[in-house]
Amino acid sequence: MLSGVLHQIMSGIATGGIYASVALALVMIYQATHHVNFAQGEMATFSTYITLTLINVGLPYWVAFVLAVAVSFVIGMGIERILMRPLHTAPVLSSVGVFVGLLLIVNSLSGWFFDYTIKQFPTPFPDRPMLGGYLSGHELGSTAVTLIVLLSVYGFFRYTRLGLAMRAAAFNPVSSRLVGVRVDWMLALGWGLAAAIGAVAGCMVAPIVFLDPNMMSGILLYAFAGALLGGIDNPLGAVLGGFMVGVIENLGGAYLVGTELKLSLALVIIVAVLTIRPTGLMGRKVFSRV
């Protein structure tokens, strides 16, 4: 029994890492635009297809992976510059409309380019149990990749000048311009980074859930629940929230509601957070004096 629980927790952490990455991508765009990018999941799916295509033309896994992440970065920046730029001062509903439209368009493009059949996606990690059988090789490897990504993103924002400028541009665009930060480019960079993180998450989850155009829709829901749980405006909170949702989902699925109803746990979390503590566990509390 105990080892069963432990097993569920460990694989919960492994899937939680995926949710944490997507939650982080959501938060990055949320901080800059104050909207949730509903298309984040579909963009990640599209990136995963790019990786698969590159693998199928004969590139080694990691080369294809890095290339696809880079291409996703560029696509993300392009979406911001072309689609989102005109909406900087638009009302909320226009932005929501564009996000939903983007979701449908990217989803259809995935189906159109790569067809709707469910595809297998390779894992670069050895296919055998690890850590005394608690995790599969892929779960362990993908957790490691996720942690590397999260730590690099944290380091980038915390310790580099460009990361500081990106945070400044998200918090206070007017003052940022007055110190010479090119705010529009910072927003575009943010979109690029979010798309790149999504691409990593897509490639890491695809071997588990298989690849089809709707692969990320459930994952986006878990990620959104994680972001809300941790605090939609707090990147660190969202990452922790993502891991927590992964564990809750696995434990709940195994002992509480069964695997068929797992996704409803995400909805329960979303509703619970919004009613009980809308800022999330680590939502930003800014002290300001005037």
């Binding site: 400028a165 918090f171 206070n172 007055l178 110190v179 010479g180 930060v181 005037v290």
Partner: protein, 236 residues
């Protein structure tokens, strides 16, 4: 010799509402000019126009180079720093990060080069260095805003009501430091103030703005002597 800042026949409007109706003035390099006027006279709009944050017509030149119509970021990079209305603090970031952003346009390895000089002007910022800027008092945020602007190493410093919302003692403290900055830094200053007495004591020259037009200009001493100004703005 070309002026540091030359504004000619400047008009500005927010949508249909016209705020400036053709004002002209100039700031010499290392000169100190005050722009006086009541609420709504167009003082802040003038500063916003210089920084390219509002639509304008007319010409604005910095050392002979046209800057009207340019993007704010590019104007800033040419050496125009603004201490904005409301101080523009990055509340979520630390004092250190706020200061680093001030030096954002400078080469990375020189970014903290001027920090000691800022601590000399504003010892309070050194004490609060690692603190979240949103927790600073109004006066400290004003100091931070001035330091942030100076860290850009500007040619022209635009100050938008540094006295706003501060207790008289703090205002005195801030202007004492501003006087040191005026005397020690090689920077032209354009000061916008409602508090005419303190502004005239600080600046060499002043312009008086009334509903978007300049109604008087001259040396601070001359304006201080003017009967009308004394009654409307100085209250004695």
């Amino acid at each position: 010799m070309t002026a540091l800042l030359e504004v000619k026949d400047l008009h500005a409007a927010y949508g249909e509402t016209r705020v400036l109706h053709g004002i002209s003035f100039s700031v010499q390099s290392s000169g100190v000019v005050a722009l006086l006027g009541a609420n709504g006279a167009g003082k802040t709009t003038t500063l916003r126009a210089i920084c390219g944050a509002v639509r304008t017509s007319g010409t604005i030149t910095l050392q002979g180079q046209r800057i009207d119509g340019k993007q704010t970021e590019d104007i800033v990079r040419l050496g125009v720093a603004q201490v904005p209305e409301g101080r523009g603090t990055f509340m979520e970031l630390t004092v250190e990060e706020n200061m680093k952003l001030g030096a954002y346009t400078r080469p990375a390895r020189l970014a903290t080069e001027d920090f000691p000089r800022m601590f000399d002007y504003f010892p309070r910022l050194k004490e609060r260095f690692r603190q979240q800027a949103g927790t600073l008092s109004g006066g400290e945020q004003q100091m931070l805003a001035i330091a942030r602007a100076l860290l850009l190493r500007p040619k022209l410093l635009l100050l938008d009501e540094p006295s706003f919302g501060l207790a008289p003692l703090i205002v005195q403290e801030i202007f004492q430091i501003l006087r040191r900055i005026r005397d020690e830094e090689k920077v032209g200053i354009l000061l916008v103030e409602q508090n005419a007495a303190i502004a005239l004591a600080f600046a060499e020259e002043a312009y008086v703005l009334e509903t978007g037009r300049i109604v008087m200009s001259g040396t601070s001493a001359a304006i201080m002597q003017d009967e009308g100004i004394r009654r409307s703005y100085l209250g004695y």
